[in-house]
Amino acid sequence: MCGIVGLYLKNEQLRTQLGALFRPMLSEMKSRGPDSAGVAIYRNATSSGQTKFSLATDDPSYDWKQIDVGLESALNCDASINPIDTHCILVTNGPEIDVRKWLKRNQNAVRVVGSGSSVEIFKEVGLPDQVFDRFQLDAAAGTHMIGHTRMATESAVTTAGSHPFATGADLCLVHNGSLSNHHRLRENLRKEGLEFQTENDTEVAAAYMTWKIREGHSLRQTLEQAIDDLDGFYTFCVGTRDGFAVLRDPIACKHAVLAETEDWVAMATEYRAIATLPDALHAEIWEPKPQTIYAWGDSA
């Protein structure tokens, strides 16, 4: 099971309503994934020289003030935080690699779940409406969002095992399906220096993409190589800085549908998640072909 959804707003006038338009999409996929839900939203791009981190903790009493104060004094940089429930958006002009090192050494309770210039990732166990409420996403404005509702099959129901998974700067992955070669692939990727927080198969796919992009491949090249290197069932939706990409495995037994109007592009596991979008009745609707990359936005 699992449900995945993506929405890119072409019409700038709709962008103030991104969260409100996206909520029913995610909510409709509740029956496909009641265990956890997560979204990546692209908004409020940082200035040049700054990095935006999405941070998460499992400790409800965690004091986020340790982050900005600690970072500013340790790295002699500017840092600002915006805590929202179990997550926090950190924006800093400290070097990304040093910030990650400092967090790892000094803040064990905190995980980096995303980074880049505009992406923000929020994910938690529970139903999609609860997650949407907790992270105050109804009023969110932005260009695009991807989301996931999880019915866990391959690993535990935890926040860390929830989607989306970050795959690089402003890149993240949601997945419907299950991979069959993730154990071997995880071992190979560990040798390349990648680190894993869970036993989750999608985290391995995300790490694979992170590695390929780090090695200098484009997202399109990465996805083309993933067709050869990943075994199992998948419909992937990859969020990028300026859009999203969709890829299905060669057998394509995991559902997917794409829809487009002059105002928006949407993908979902089932059309009912798209039905509430404005003028969906007149959208062009089709099912994406197997092992074919569909992408919107320049960075794909």
Partner: protein, 227 residues
Amino acid sequence: MKVLDLSVDGLRHINKTLNALGDDGADQHWAINNPMGQHAIACGLQSPVEVDINGHVGFYCAGMNQRAKITVHGHVGVGVAENMMSGHVRVKGNASQAAGATGHGGLLVIEGDTSSRCGISMKGIDIVVGGSVGHMSAFMAQLGHLVVCGDAGEALGDSIYEADLFVRGDVESLGADCEEKEMASEHIDTLQDLLTRSDISANPREFRRYGSARKLYNFDIDKTDAY
């Protein structure tokens, strides 16, 4: 025309209402508005009623249909008209996977494209697709006709028992035990009749016919290693 609104009446009320018509539905014309991609709309109808669904539907629409004439003015999800026994289902848009799966009879017309496994395990249904079909279409087909006015994806007719497959465009590959057959005048007549009944305009002489090579048809003790 009588109008049902799925957002107001709910799925079960709509299916119960249409199911209760029986022979009385013969001269009736119903519309279903606001389908909103929901599943199992207009399933199990046994009445010769005419139904128009105004919008895009989810999975298994018009499943198990008998006698009813159902038109979907939009896209259909997985398994439209699955296990249809008789009647007529028409889709004005594209279809997802497994359109007409296991159908025993009736006519399914899809004006757009279908995704993979169109006509999987078909058992007598006639399927006419105005566009193209995806991979593994007519997989294990047993009886009936599949007409494709566009192209067919990989492994057309894999493990086919019987059934006639007509394709106008390119076939990416044929599945195991599926081969091209002679297009005799009787087949052109059959195809013309299917196209006419489907209200799809195409020249039957532009199509090629595919069917079973019947080499997997019976168990052969000398070929045990191949199974």
